[in-house]
């Protein structure tokens, strides 16, 4: 079986969610099929400027074919068009212009897919909202599988995607909430689909003591791992956490790992450590009382799965339906809708080691059953076999 993974960007230095997701799945599926990656020469997701050299290359043992982007994106023009289509009455033509502007426009990539369709058994497209997926799926609908990586983003309601979601042979969703959202938008229940997500790997051993010693942490701490920005639930988390401390006098600290685009409050109990190595990240997670996930928009949240892999409970924002759904299904975390629920849930979690242990163990079991690479590979294989069979 030969599979073509089609994605907007690809490279070892690209850490974007969907791109990394695609790379990991492609590398794991190479055990079962001949895998090729079809992508653009872009590295920057704002402009899609050609960056990587043209032509095939090999990355981690996979053949990667790169195609040039015809025209880089003009962010201001794109912003204006998006503003117009999201807020005003518009035509199908306007939506197609938005898609052109969003890019990455690579006619050579589409031409390659059209010419070489017969050489591949299936094309697995990543990220529904980009040019390559929309036109690529239209080019080879009978061989197309889509991994939508959709969030609750207003563009999902655009008319052009309603039709797109009925075209591929099958969907590989990240979560049940993502599947429900896409089915509600497009009524595509007839299209085959499986909820898979992405696997994670955790180091064989982590040392909480090493982390505590390295960063001078003594008290209990909550940990947040990821980008610190508005969509991720900041500065709301700062506000909730500081109010909680003021009201309860708790000595708990908030430790944050990852990049930031927001100013961090200067408070001795808020420790921003910046971007750390994977070893430090897992050490930090191992030493934390719990992982806090304040994000409003998540299509899966890999860091939540990593916390469960280490048997750590999670406190998540209930306004993100994916996070709340994952906590309910796994019985591995609590969630909050407002400050009063945050205070109560956090207070309970910090006060009860037994609750933390029980939630962490449930999370661990949920991770083992659904998000080890073996489980993910089996889900991909099952949908491919289902298509082969019928």
């Amino acid at each position: 079986m030969k599979l073509g993974f089609v994605v907007q960007r690809y490279g070892l230095d690209i850490s974007g969610g969907a791109e990394l997701h695609c790379r990991w799945v492609a590398e794991h599926m190479a055990k079962y099929a001949e895998v090729e990656v079809l992508t653009t020469r872009a590295a920057d997701y704002i402009t899609w400027k050609n960056h990587y050299p043209a032509g095939p290359q090999t990355i981690n043992g996979l053949r990667v074919r790169r195609f040039p982007v015809v025209r880089p994106r003009h962010p201001e023009r794109f912003g204006r068009i998006q503003e117009r289509i999201l807020n005003f009455e518009h035509t199908a033509g306007d939506e197609l212009r938005w898609l052109d502007e969003e890019g990455p426009r690579s006619k050579a990539l589409l031409g390659y897919i059209r010419k070489n369709e017969a050489d591949y058994d299936y094309f697995i497209f990543f990220s529904y909202r980009y040019y390559h997926s929309y036109w690529g799926i239209r080019t080879v609908p009978a061989k197309a599988l889509l991994v939508p990586t959709a969030e609750r983003d207003p563009v999902i309601n655009l008319k052009l995607f309603k039709d797109l979601f009925r075209l591929p042979r099958a969907f590989i969703y990240n979560s049940f909430e993502e599947r429900d959202m896409i089915q509600t938008v497009s009524q595509n229940q007839a299209v085959a689909g499986v909820v898979a997500g992405v696997g994670t790997e955790t180091p064989a051993s982590c040392s909480a003591a090493r982390f505590r010693q390295k960063y001078g942490l003594e008290d209990d701490y909550l940990i947040y791992i990821g980008r610190v920005d508005q969509n991720k639930g900041f500065p709301q988390l700062f506000d909730y956490f500081l109010r909680y401390k003021r009201e309860t006098g708790s000595p708990t600290k908030l430790v944050m790992i990852g990049g930031t685009v927001l100013p961090i409050p200067a408070h001795p109990d808020i420790r921003y450590l910046g971007i750390l190595s994977e070893e430090d990240k897992f050490d930090g997670l191992a030493g934390a009382a719990l992982l806090v996930m304040p994000s409003f928009y998540e299509s899966l949240s890999m860091v939540t799965l990593e916390a469960w892999a280490l048997h750590k409970p999670v406190l998540a924002n209930a306004l993100c339906d994916v996070l709340a759904g994952q906590c309910r299904r796994s019985n591995g975390g609590l969630f909050y809708r407002d400050y009063r629920e945050f205070r109560e849930a956090l207070g309970f979690l910090l006060a009860s080691p037994e609750l933390r242990r029980a939630l962490g163990e449930n999370g661990g079991r949920y991770y083992q059953a659904n998000y080890t690479w073996e489980a993910i590979e089996n889900k991909y294989l099952s949908i491919l076999h289902q298509l082969e069979a019928g």
Partner: protein, 178 residues
């Protein structure tokens, strides 16, 4: 017993949980019930009073001291002269009373405003939702209106076609009859 243990006991009394079969939905139900039972804190309480200034920090009432005993005896002895003393200090007393009255009214208004602020926090969220609902409704109505106009014009075109075909049918019938 330290603060951690006290908290643990408090939470274990509040929540009924089977730790061998954790059900997050059920725990969240209990959390929400508990939060709903608690009064909404006034903003002034949000910061919380310092423990040293709280009523719990006051010393317990003990036996009367000598100073208090003398004070009580003096108050009893001077009681018959109080009306005359009030009359002498009336202007000052009146000013104090008015100021007190005004302060009391200001206090009441602050309480009222605090309560309204609390309500506003809740209603603000509803207003945001309503605003977005209104926006979506306007969008949908606009789309419907455009669709309605398009359909109307299509119907009028079809009517004209129908009329034309009717006339043509009559002409053809007449020719056939001849």
């Amino acid at each position: 017993m330290d603060n951690k243990d006290t908290n643990e006991i408090r939470y274990s009394k509040t929540y009924k949980i089977d730790y061998d079969h954790i059900d997050v939905a059920q725990i969240m139900g209990q959390v929400r019930d508990k939060v709903a039972r608690e009064p909404v804190p006034a903003p002034s309480e949000a910061g919380g009073p310092s423990p040293e200034f709280s009523p719990a920090g006051l010393p317990p009432p003990g036996p009367l001291s000598l100073k208090k005993k003398v004070k009580n005896k003096l108050l009893k002895g001077l009681a018959p002269f109080f009306p005359a003393m009030r009359l002498i200090s009336l202007p000052l007393h009146e000013e104090l009373r008015e100021t007190n009255e005004k302060l009391h009214q200001a206090g009441q208004r602050i309480d009222e405003l605090t309560a309204r602020l609390n309500e506003r926090d809740i209603t603000k969220e509803y207003i945001k939702l309503l605003h977005s609902l209104c926006h979506n409704l306007v969008m949908e109505l606009t789309k419907l209106r455009v669709e309605h106009d398009t359909l109307k014009s299509k119907v009028s075109v079809l009517e004209k076609d129908f009329e034309f075909l009717g006339k043509r049918e009559k002409v053809l019938e007449q020719r056939l009859v001849r």
